[in-house]
């Protein structure tokens, strides 16, 4: 459980004249005379967020859609989903692409004063740099494998089409080799182009992309949380981190649930940047 200290949120949905409240419980009020439905979070079967809004399905089979337009502003939407995700497990959540790690990863804990902490508003450069490195780290072995397959395939194709392996192998081999490398480079370049579009994708899909965020790197864990919900007591434990990689501008920590925490180096003073990098390196394995 995390984000327990955030005050609850109340959302009125005019389409079905229902009021939704999130806090220690998830509750739905119909008309005045009806007894409200109050659910413990353990009774929520699934929580789904998409472009249109949020849909919560409870264990009694009720389906509660909350359209995006019912929220007064981005901050209210962020507070609502933070409270809900803070009470749910990752297995119950189906979320859109997020710039920040989902809140179910967090635990309430003390953050000591000697932690690294700074506010940040992400820019394209931070995300693109990290994103390319992320793609590289994720796709490198597949690109290498694909290059190898193309090398073998081109070699076999040359043998079948042109024949005379005994005489021409000296030509076939470099052609196949460079074909494999070429294919790998092309795939890498295409994926890099897609990686560079990632920030635009975040801005389009995630309300948090342009929000001010607080980044924390501490002994017990790390965090990247919107300022409007930051209480100074939530961290993702290091045990949840899978690996990290570092570029010239960004450190990227990937979590076990495949979500990513982007830490732009520029938010820390120059003399601290190396300390942050080595601190993270001491906690998570590099890739």
């Amino acid at each position: 459980m995390a984000f327990d200290s955030l005050r609850g949120e109340r959302i009125y949905v005019s389409q079905n004249a229902a009021t939704f409240l999130v806090g220690d419980y998830f509750s739905v009020f119909g008309n005045e005379s009806e007894i409200p439905h109050i659910y413990e979070w353990s009774e929520v079967k699934s929580y789904c967020e998409n472009q249109n809004g949020i849909t919560i399905v409870t264990s009694d089979g009720e389906n509660y859609p909350i359209p995006r337009m019912a929220f007064s502003d981005n901050a209210q939407f962020i507070r609502f989903r933070t409270i809900a995700e803070g009470q749910l497990s990752g297995a119950k959540c189906r979320l859109t692409q997020r710039i920040l790690p989902p809140k179910y990863n967090y635990s309430s804990v003390d953050i000591p004063e000697q932690s690294f902490s700074a506010p940040c508003v992400y820019n394209e450069k931070d995300i693109n740099s990290g994103s390319v490195a992320h793609i590289q780290s994720k796709a490198a072995k597949y690109i290498f494998l694909l290059g190898g397959i193309i090398f073998v395939a081109v070699f076999l194709a040359l043998v079948f089409i042109l024949g005379n392996l005994d005489k021409n192998w000296f030509y076939y081999l470099p052609i196949s080799f460079f074909s494999g490398i070429g294919a790998g480079v092309v795939i890498f370049l295409i994926s890099s182009v897609f990686a560079r579009l990632r920030f635009a994708d975040f801005v389009k899909h995630d309300v948090s992309a342009l929000e001010e965020t607080i980044i924390v790197v501490a002994h017990a864990g790390f965090a990247a949380v919107e300022r409007c919900v930051y209480a100074g007591t939530e961290l993702i434990p290091w045990s949840q981190a899978d690996h990290y990689f570092e570029t010239k501008t960004t450190i990227v920590i990937t979590c076990k649930d495949k979500s990513v925490c982007w830490i732009p180096k520029r938010i820390f003073p120059k003399n601290v940047q190396n300390d942050v990098s080595s601190f993270i390196a001491s906690r998570v394995t590099s890739k």
């Binding site: 200290s5 419980y25 009020f29 439905h37 109050i38 804990v109 003390d110 209480a231 434990p237």
Partner: protein, 515 residues
């Protein structure tokens, strides 16, 4: 913004209570989260920027007992609280104001949310027989502090009657206690005000000296208890034929949703279990500190030590709230090894659990039946598995029947009594001392403040009898036949001599033995 307090007066089987809705409260008094490590939970009761009491749990298990300890004193918050707490107590207990009127200024100091306020009897102990004021100096686990009590279950109501002090023990003084006792003697009703923390424990905000005075005099300590309503209750919904959340819950109250206004329910749902006070960081830092023990190592008065034994412990109290009724027929069936009556469980499906709960219930509700039930258990070999527990519960009951039972156990050669023989021997020594002390105190008549004893002495002096004989008669009436000591020829007192005298004494007249 000005605090808005809405109060509704309601009633349940335990008595009247107020349902209070606080909006825009000042947030000076509340409970906040000060957790320091993953997978643990530390909640801190704070006043202003002071951390007063910590409640720690190393698991999410609601049925696990909590560790409770004091970390500061409410005396440091006088500038914030002013005289509001003391005034609330005096207005309600002495000036006869309504509960709503008396507590209104205190309610404005709370954090937003739904509260239940009621008045009842509180026990100035830690639920294990220790005086409350110096029982929480060191972090330790307390029986009955779990939010969920398996004996009481979710649906039953109970009073969180054990007190946790908010003042430093160094401010305890017998002089203040005596002054409070003197006020009580003059007819002033003493009391306190407390805030529910967890399980059966509440933080006493004001009335520490009053609690000590009541305990010294062996009187009940009435207390206003403010309970934040933070839980819900599942009930069967006949429309959907399922169990769902249908009521809000606090220890003292289980309130169906249909009886609560929508604004109150919304206020309950929007405010979380823990609040974020203005000085959260400061409170968190102060919660790490322990209350200084300097000047705290003092002895309690003998009267407090003696009267503490008469107060119920956590097990007794939970059994008392868990069991509605226990007739002689029920007890007979339990002694016969049965757990059911008319296809309904008497207490529990587990036989030994039933015996344990029955003992605790009777010890709290009906001492004589408790002694009779437990001494029967101790003479039933098939229940030897419960001997240790039963003997532990009996050891503070100073009673002739218990004395005889333990005497028989000490004398017995039966191996089933081996585990409790040592305990029985200790009891016999203690009982002998008790008898000696009681009679010496009575016959010596040094300085008695116990009105029953004083009036008995007066009756004895006014011609009911004379000398030792009249003392014996008075004591017989008072103690219902408990053996005592009489003066021997060399000026010492002997219980044997008194027993002899008692056996020769005529039976007390009917109706004069009420104490």
């Amino acid at each position: 913004m000005k605090p808005t307090i809405t109060i509704e007066s309601l009633r349940n089987p335990l008595g009247e209570f107020l349902l209070v809705n606080v909006v825009n409260g000042k947030g000076v008094i509340g409970i906040c989260d000060t957790t320091r490590a993953f997978n643990t939970s530390r909640r801190t009761f704070y006043v202003g920027s002071e951390s007063i009491i910590n409640v720690f749990s190393s698991s999410d298990d609601d049925s696990a007992n909590r560790q409770i300890w004091q970390c500061s004193s409410i005396d440091k918050c006088k500038n914030i609280l002013g005289n509001k707490l003391k005034s609330a107590v005096e207005e309600f207990f002495y000036e006869g104001a309504s509960l709503a009127k008396a507590v209104q200024p205190v309610l404005e100091l709370l954090t937003d949310g739904l509260y239940v306020v009621h008045s009842g009897t509180a026990f100035p102990t830690d639920g294990a027989g220790n005086f409350f004021w110096n029982a929480y100096l060191i972090k330790h686990e307390l029986n009955g502090s779990a939010p969920y009590n398996p004996a009481i279950c979710y649906s039953k109501i109970y009073e969180p009657a054990f007190l946790v002090p908010t003042r430093n023990f160094s401010s305890y003084s017998e002089k203040n206690t005596a002054a409070a006792a003197a006020r009580m003697k003059r007819g002033r009703r003493l009391g306190g005000i407390a805030y529910h923390l967890t399980g059966m424990f509440s933080a006493l905000l004001s009335g520490h000296d009053n609690a000590a005075a009541c305990l010294t005099k062996g009187e009940e300590f009435p207390c206003i208890i403010i309970e934040p309503m933070k839980d819900v209750l599942y009930l069967h919904d006949e429309i959907t034929d399922t169990d769902r959340i249908m009521a809000l819950s606090s220890p003292y109250v289980k309130l169906p949703l249909e009886n609560i206004s929508r604004s109150m329910i919304e206020n309950f749902l929007l405010n979380r279990r823990v609040s974020v006070p203005e000085f959260h960081e400061e409170i968190r830092a102060k919660a790490d500190k322990n209350l200084p023990l300097k000047g705290a190592a003092r002895n309690l008065s003998a009267a407090i030590e003696q009267n503490l034994e008469k107060l119920p412990d956590a097990e007794m109290l939970s059994s008392a709230f868990a069991i509605t009724e226990l007739t002689d027929e029920h007890l007979e069936l339990l002694l016969a090894g049965e757990t059911k009556i008319n296809d309904m469980y008497i207490i529990s499906s587990n036989y030994y659990e039933s015996i344990v709960y029955a003992c605790n219930f009777l010890q709290y509700k009906d001492r004589q039946r408790f002694i009779s039930f437990t001494t029967t258990i101790l003479s039933t070999p098939s229940l030897s598995a419960t001997y240790r527990y039963v003997a532990e519960r009996l050891r503070f009951e100073m009673d002739a029947k218990v004395n005889e039972t333990f005497k028989a156990i000490v004398a017995s050669e039966d191996p089933i009594y081996i585990p409790i023989k040592e305990l029985a021997q200790k009891y016999l020594v203690r009982y002998h001392e008790y008898v000696e002390t009681s009679v010496n105190k009575f016959i010596g008549a040094d300085e008695y403040e116990d009105e029953e004893f004083v009036s008995a002495m007066e009756r004895a002096a006014s011609g009911v009898g004379s000398g030792v004989q009249s003392s014996v008669d008075a004591l017989v009436r008072l103690r219902d036949g408990t053996p005592v000591t009489v003066e021997t020829s060399d000026g010492e007192y002997s219980s044997m001599a008194l027993k002899k005298k008692l056996s020769e004494a005529p039976p007390p007249p009917k109706g004069s033995g009420d104490n």
